[in-house]
Symmetry: C2
Subunit: 202 residues, 2 copies
């Protein structure tokens, strides 16, 4: 008669809880987020959350991994597929990718990593292996290709792919701290890439 008070949906719960958690973490950060709030957001009791995730930390790690993994593949895949010259690739797909980052979930992840890194060394390891080192490796490879086919000269930039990320990081941090005071992040990143290309062009 009365409709059921809840449905059993073993398959979907973990995903739904993880999504709720990501939203909550994005708003208030890890520590300030209460497990109970995540549960409520996911339309579930606290007890159930603990059935699927052993601790709050487990949940945190699962969430980060879930967001991070797909993103990286995107970049490396487009890089591998592309037949463009190094410069064309940088001005095209890479620039687009970089400009998207500050507004994407990636920026939430960065914020969480900065705040929580000291307390979660294993998460840092994961992030390093699956994101940072792979991303930087791909960039380095791209630069070497450019040098190999005579587009670029040898320069310190080859050893410092972090230079490509610098303005993105700047934009992300700016967004976190000065949320309201606007900064034209697209222009910042574009100008920066322009600078790099002018600098390394053969």
């Amino acid at each position: 008669m009365g409709r059921p008070r809840y449905q059993r949906r073993k398959e979907d719960r973990p995903q739904e809880i993880a999504e709720a958690a990501f939203a909550a973490f994005a708003e208030k950060g890890f520590t300030a987020t209460k497990v109970e709030d995540v549960a409520r957001r996911a339309g579930v009791s606290k007890g159930l959350l603990y059935l699927y995730f052993k601790t709050k930390e487990e949940l945190f790690k699962a969430v980060i991994r879930g967001v991070v993994t797909p993103r990286v593949d995107e970049l490396t895949r487009t890089l591998d597929d592309s037949e463009l010259s190094a410069e064309a690739f940088i001005r095209g797909p890479l620039l687009t990718f970089l400009k998207r980052l500050p507004g994407s979930p990636a920026s939430v992840v960065i914020r969480l990593m900065i705040s929580e890194a000291p307390k979660h060394p294993d998460l840092v390891d994961y992030y390093w292996e699956n994101v940072a080192s792979r991303g930087l490796g791909a960039l380095r490879q791209l630069l070497e290709r450019g040098v190999a086919n005579g587009e670029f000269r040898e320069s310190a930039v080859n050893e410092l792919p972090q230079l490509f990320i610098a303005p993105v990081m700047m934009s992300i941090v700016w967004g976190i701290v000065f949320a309201d005071r606007s900064l034209d992040t697209d222009k910042l990143i574009e100008t920066h890439v322009d600078m790099i290309l002018a600098y390394i062009r053969a």
Copy 2:
């Protein structure tokens, strides 16, 4: 007979407590730091700390202000005093200043701002007025001087002094997240400044 269990040192206590707090915050961040630990570190009881600082937040703000204020004056003062050409100033004093930042207390402040900004809007305002906007203003002024006396051409960089900070921010964030995995921050910053100058030179 027995020597006194404590000394009364009304004058020095606040300073000492603030220093202890900075050290504690630097190690564990704001939330993870217990007021009692700060007190112990300062060689003082928790009760006394609360005599000088109304709440943990008050303490936090006082600490940030204490670290931040002197640093900024340093930059603007050297800029005003200098008779160097714009380029010489950038390659000399400014570069030195920028390279020092990642290892300085400034980087601790940045980390704390990133983690706590959403919860402390008034602190963000203070930081904006006393650090960010003044620092960026000084940089913008420097660039304009360079344009005025024919050293530099007009370029988008004039509107984006954040470009100078980008590699510094990158280095700071790198240091926070990947403390151990080394990055040659000096080289990163130097190369970057090199790039900018090549780009804007008339």
